[in-house]
């Protein structure tokens, strides 16, 4: 059975705020269908900590092994070894964390469904309001037995999201990012050389200021127009679909309205 814990404490705090400020509108707190989860709290659960420790040990041993193999290897071989190392670490992460994440996903979906939430987002981007379901999810994860997936899909949400990785993969965006990346690498080299020759703090600050200005100027010329265009496309799609906000996919944990396809279509 799924247990939920309604945040009475939160309502109590809200009531105090209301009485202090005498603003009745604050009662709207907690009444939305937007929930949030503090993922740092979930990652401190014993199961996640144990998995973390297991991964750390594995990573340390694997790193030692690869360092030994990389010694005396050519640059190309070292690059290949580094790729193999990353792939092995990723495989292990999937193996160790995969079942835990699946369980957490089911728990979040279950709690969200029971509270009729249309979206659950990461606590990091919540400034005020929303329903904190972290406690309920933690109870489900630490309770006896596995959480049961909800029968219903999430209700429609007025919060949309985009997968920024897909937007970044569009040819125009990728080309601009590559261009900026090369420019930054050159600037990094030149600035590092200048910094080594700096004699005083003011020299150093002037060099860094110039570096930042150069990057800013380049960014404004190459990246910003695309960012603006993307933002406008998102806003257009959001209006057409009656959404109030669009956030990045990485901040959405459950539910929400995916508008990535519409945005990429508009950008092409």
């Amino acid at each position: 059975m799924i247990t939920t814990r309604f945040p009475l404490r939160f309502i109590a705090l809200g009531a105090v705020a209301v009485s202090l400020l005498a603003v009745p509108a604050a009662l709207a707190d907690d009444l939305t269908d937007i929930g949030y989860v503090d993922q740092s709290q979930l990652s401190s659960l014993p199961a996640f900590v144990a998995a973390d420790r297991q991964l750390q040990t594995y990573g340390t041993n694997l790193q030692r092994d690869y360092i030994g193999r990389a010694r005396g290897a050519s640059q190309a071989q070292q690059q290949q070894l580094a790729q193999q190392f990353q792939a092995q670490i990723a495989d292990k992460q999937r193996e160790v964390l995969g079942p835990l994440f699946h369980k957490a996903q089911v728990a979040i979906a279950s709690v969200a469904s029971s509270k009729n939430l249309s979206i659950v987002i990461d606590k990091r981007i919540i400034i005020y309001g929303g329903q904190d379901i972290t406690g309920s999810v933690r109870d489900l994860l630490t309770g006896i037995g596995d959480p049961v997936p909800p029968v219903n899909t999430p209700p429609p949400s007025t919060i949309g999201y985009v997968d920024q990785a897909q937007i970044d993969a569009l040819p125009a965006v990728r080309s601009a990012a590559d261009d900026f990346g090369k420019f930054k690498a050159d600037e990094d080299r030149q600035t590092a050389a200048k910094l080594r020759g700096a004699k005083t703090d003011s020299d150093r600050n002037a060099i860094l200021k110039d570096y930042q200005t150069q990057l800013q100027t380049k960014q404004t010329a190459t990246i910003k127009p695309l960012l603006d265009k993307t933002k406008n496309a998102m806003a257009d799609v959001a209006h057409k679909r009656n959404l109030v906000l669009v956030v990045d996919r990485s901040n959405v944990i459950y539910g929400g309205t995916d508008i990535t396809a519409d945005v990429t279509a508009e950008l092409k």
Binding site: Q39, A109, I127, Y128, P155, A238, H239, S250, N251, G255
Partner: protein
């Protein structure tokens, strides 16, 4: 690894949302008003933004100088220098060896000629005496030794220049390491003081927050007459002034502390440099002296031919006078031994020098690596301080936003919005409040 786990948690948990997110049009009635703020813009208006930017600048500077691709090239550069120096030393060794070989061949021919003359003088009454033969040999050997000494002097000069260049490189490297260490010490102290100032500033702001909020609520929410408004404004200004004065006093003390530390670090660099430079110079002078003595011993002491074809001739001429035989044998034995010793010691010397140089460059490279590791630790420390300060700033901004949201009846406020649509933008209102925080 913990960061990886946290990041992976975010990404994987986030990915679970989206399979079930194929929904029909949303019902706006399900939501209260949703607002948003542009957190980056608000952070830039926060009174502590300068400190945050200073952290960013310091992290950027350390990152650029410690980990930029060209900085990593310091190792290969040193290796190239080492290889070039080794090539020079190899060439000098070969040149010396070739010279000694040529000298050996030359002396063999001259010794053969001298012995032939000695044999003729023994048979003919008016031929040269053994003493004359010896004098001729010594005169020839003297000319050859002068050639060898001149070449040795050239090698010695080249060696001295190499030592000088090494000294300059080592002193420069030592100076850079000491200056970087002092710089890090100074910055760490400056950042520590800045962090304390930031914390103190926040403490002051938080201590007065309730009073400030009451005054601002009065100013914005209540109908006040001019006197009451003036009084509230004065009270707000007095609060700001009190905080500014307390903070300024702390900053003055900190500036004095930093100035004293800077002087102390300068003095320490001077002391450390003297300690570094002395042994470097002393080592080079000692090595140059050793090399000079060795060359002197090798070439100046041997003022006679090195080797020759004496034994075969003696073997084929058993009737030579005993004195002449004895002299020829003695000359041959002496200069043959000197020749071998000379060649061997020259090559050994260069091999030893090469090994010593490789070791010294390895030490230099090791110094650079430890500097890089130290910079990395510094970056981690700065990033932690930066994250703590950022969290405090965001928390304070959050409190301001919460007040505004409550006043305007907004149910949920989020930050980091990819694109706004129908949400209420609270950024400007929040910005005004944040700007008045530390006026």
């Amino acid at each position: 690894m913990r960061v990886l786990l946290a990041a992976a948690t975010c990404v994987v948990l986030a990915s679970c949302a989206h399979a079930a997110a194929t929904a029909p049009a949303p019902s706006p009635a399900a939501n209260g008003l949703v607002g948003y703020v542009r957190m980056d813009d608000l952070v830039k208006k926060h009174p502590l933004y300068d400190q945050l930017a200073q952290y960013d600048t310091n992290i950027e500077a350390l990152d650029l100088t410690a980990f930029a691709p060209h900085a990593l090239a310091a190792g290969p550069e040193l290796a190239r220098e080492e290889a070039a120096l080794n090539a020079q030393l190899d060439a000098a060794a070969k040149r010396t060896n070739d010279l000694l070989n040529a000298k050996g061949r030359d002396f063999q021919a001259r010794e053969d000629a001298a012995i032939a003359a000695a044999l003729r003088s023994a048979a003919l009454p008016d031929g040269p005496s053994v003493a004359q033969v010896r004098a001729q040999l010594e005169a020839t050997a003297s000319g050859q030794t002068a050639d060898v000494n001149a070449q040795a002097q050239r090698d010695l000069d080249a060696y001295r220049k190499q030592l000088e260049a090494q000294d300059v490189a080592q002193i420069d490297a030592a100076q850079r390491v000491l200056a970087a260490r002092a710089d890090r010490t100074y910055r760490a102290r400056a950042e520590e003081l800045t962090a304390k100032e930031a914390a103190y500033s926040l403490t002051l702001a938080n201590a007065d927050a309730a009073q400030r909020l009451t005054l601002r609520t009065r100013l914005t929410s209540l109908a006040l007459d001019d006197d009451q408004r003036d009084e509230a404004n004065k009270a707000l200004a007095a609060l700001d002034q009190k905080e500014a004065d307390q903070l300024a006093a702390m900053r003055n003390t900190d500036q004095q502390t930093l100035a004293a530390l800077k002087q102390q670090l300068r003095d320490q660099i001077a002391v450390d440099m003297r300690a570094e430079v002395g042994p470097i110079r002393q080592r080079s002078v000692q090595r140059f002296g050793e090399r000079e003595r060795e060359l002197h011993d090798q070439f100046a002491a041997h003022g006679a031919p090195v080797t020759g074809g004496g034994p075969p001739l003696l073997a084929s001429n058993p009737n030579l006078p005993p004195d002449l035989r004895k002299r020829i044998l003695a000359l041959h034995a002496d200069y043959l031994a000197a020749f071998h010793a000379d060649a061997k010691s020259t090559i050994d010397d260069f091999t030893k020098t090469r090994a010593d140089l490789a070791h010294r460059y390895a030490v230099l490279t090791g110094t650079d690596q430890s500097a890089t590791q130290s910079a990395q630790a510094e970056i981690v420390s700065l990033q932690k301080k930066r994250a703590d300060l950022y969290a405090e700033m965001v928390a304070q901004i959050g409190r301001e936003v919460k007040t505004i949201a409550q006043q305007r009846g907004i149910s949920v406020v989020v930050s980091d919005v990819a694109a706004p649509a129908g949400g209420v933008d609270l950024t400007d209102d929040a910005m005004k409040d944040i700007e008045t925080l530390h006026e």
